[in-house]
Subunit: 234 residues, 4 copies
DNA sequence: GATGAATGAGGTTTCATTCAT
DNA sequence: TATGAATGAAACCTCATTCAT
């Protein structure tokens, strides 16, 4: 990537300490400016859904937003920064959702429901945000520091919560103490993340999402609680 | 306008029906040529390990190999084709290895060992080939047809073998019939693939590979056989 | 892979339905942009006069216009498209001029003057536009569809008008009915076009343009009217 | 074009004073070498028929001949030189043919036959050699000195012979003395050459070759002899 | 004599980025 | 605040040409 006049550093956090996004010239944008910024963000999201990340160009986003590249640079130093802004938003939702779920009871039939809710919730989160998720996946394996950070944040809170539950089950003697809770939770989250992000591929291969959710719930339940799921009554 | 001697189609497949790679002018390379081709492949592999896929340039590979871009184009029409050649090789090994493992017994303590061997084998395969695996992962989510094909080949054979084992366990009444065998196998393979490809991230976060392997083996064993693993004696 | 804002199809025709040229990003250029576009066109014309068509490079045109290749590509997708734009212009003039001439009377001394005016007019049109004419000639024998189309347009209207006159003379019994009017007109236009485009060669060989014009006028007159030209009085 | 070790000068005449073609290293090729050279020439001719001159590449010719570029350079310093060799051959035939024709009688019905024979002969010569003719046409309008020379040779001998006939007719008082014989002959030859080289275009436009030949014969006869052709009896 | 192989050189094309208005 | 326009820089790719065998 080419060097730029304004360092990425300054832009790293597109929202400054007072919470207001800044334009490239340091001014706090007014009403019209904020609208433009928002429009650019939405178009970035759209383009991400229809183009591969590799082929995402500033010109495209700008044109999609009915404006020019120069305007884009007024609000974001580069495409990644815009994506980061979108991803931050998503990470928020993600944590809200999933943390709720982990707080539920894991005992007996309710536990099975919890596991199912998690599997379904995860899949939905991915379905709603797959373009962004895809980019986080792509880039966390490679360079971009900021993406990795968000991804870690997104997965970790959940991993830790899950590890905590596992630890509880171990202490209650229901799950074997041989398993490291964090490693086990990590494994489970990996499962959820990978399946969710390859749903399309599975469908293509004739494997249905409902079946995947059921299998994941099963794995989740048994691995967390160390128990066979009780016979479902339906 | 310009005509190419070898159609893109034919060139797409770097190995013709007689198994001989072709140069861009349609000739079968001799000893020296084959050496150069091989050198370029190795350098592609190296560059893949040290650079992000996005930033992999023909110039770089050529320079690394101590030759010129023109020479690169003598053997491959583009970078992806070179990567495909590498990936094909890897897919071969991958299947060999993993299929063997699935053939083993899944009953009792031996079953646990099978599960452990699979987890370890998978992790090792990834450790040995992570740069390539990463690219397959990246691109299967996006465009490139040929990569997806290899990835599918790599994962599917294993998924199907595993599904077969699960089906057996279901028929033997050890595992619940509520789970779809292919979906369940897909979920397990996803787990293996995702954990394996993010080992580095886990280590970074203080989670040890050995623990991950143990957790994965546990999940594998319980999900395939529907049984709790027998107490290990060590 | 990459998407272009304006499809090649649309861009092929540098003037859209509302008659406004478009830049490569789909926008209608403003005053400054139009000036640049025009400058590039003029330089293309100049380069065509001093370089062989084969050796005409985007870089050269851009340099000549005091700008960079990137700027050229902002206005034309390739050199040929720029040439087409020039040729369209010329075709306009050409038809205007020549059609007028054919409308004149062909009887007696006036007819001779008509023939002379045509010969002279044709030669002048060529002299003013020989670089373009040369390219049309070159390429109509080979590939480029758009050039051929313009050339056909340029020659055909004249051929058809001339054929009409010949048909009239045949009906009036002055010219033998054995000749196919279109073929005959085609032959005459060929004569004009070829002589006009090789004037320089003839001069080089000691044959004067005035003599060529007189000979062509003679051939035109006798072939169209079937009469010997009346004795001129000077 | 890039500079080369062996100057074009040395190669200008591919047949030296003793009539034997030389290889690039100065040796007179033996039987096998001559066969290769001939094969390359024939393939050059073939490629010229199927590819545009602009796109004719050494590699293509070599491959077509089942050999390698390096071999091509053993016999010709560049593609043009090979073409020149072919064109020389053709020029020979061309002159033979046409000179014969001009020697015939131009009086009365025989004269008409002479004109017809010339038109037909010209068209045939072109039909047999159009790829080469096309290249001569292309390049004589632009740079290449050697091509122009051949073209001039090809057309001039005929032009001069025709001019001689016209001069005779003028002296005999049958044709007006106002026309310059060389200019008039030049105009006629131009007509023949241009029509012959655009036959395909005419056909495409629904104008038949036979009609073109008849019209050209008519123009030839009337312009050379200054007479209306006698009524044909069929 | 023939030719595999290598490559310098150079045009093409794309884009992120800037700047003057 | 917005944006037309311009462009440096860099990758792509192709070919004529050479050389060692």
């Amino acid at each position: 990537m080419t060097e730029r006049a304004v360092s990425a550093e300054e832009f790293d956090d597109p929202v400054d300490s007072e919470g207001a996004p800044r334009a490239s010239d340091g001014r706090v944008p007014g009403r019209r400016g904020r609208a433009t910024r928002q429009r650019l963000l939405e178009c970035t999201r759209e383009m991400l859904a229809s183009h591969s990340y590799r082929d995402l160009r500033v010109v495209d986003i700008a044109r999609q937003a009915g404006t020019s590249p120069a305007t884009f640079y007024q609000y974001f130093p580069d495409v990644n920064t815009a994506i980061v802004a979108l991803a931050e938003e998503m990470a928020e939702q993600g944590n809200d959702l999933v943390v709720q779920l982990v707080g539920r009871s894991w005992s007996g039939a309710t536990g099975v429901q919890t596991a199912e809710a998690i599997a379904r919730g995860y899949v939905q989160l991915w379905e709603q945000n797959w373009p962004l998720m895809r980019v986080l996946d792509l880039t966390s394996a490679e360079g971009e520091h900021r993406f990795r950070a968000i991804r870690v944040r997104l997965l970790n809170q959940f991993t830790e919560a899950l590890a905590e539950v596992i630890r509880g089950e171990q202490e209650a003697g229901r799950q074997t103490a041989e398993l490291d809770p964090m490693a086990t939770a990590g494994v489970l989250v990996s499962m959820l993340a990978h399946v969710a992000s390859h749903l399309y591929g599975f469908e293509h291969y004739g494997i249905r999402t409902a079946d995947l959710e059921r299998s994941m719930a099963h794995v989740l339940y048994t691995t967390v609680t160390g128990q066979k799921p009780p016979k479902s009554k339906d």
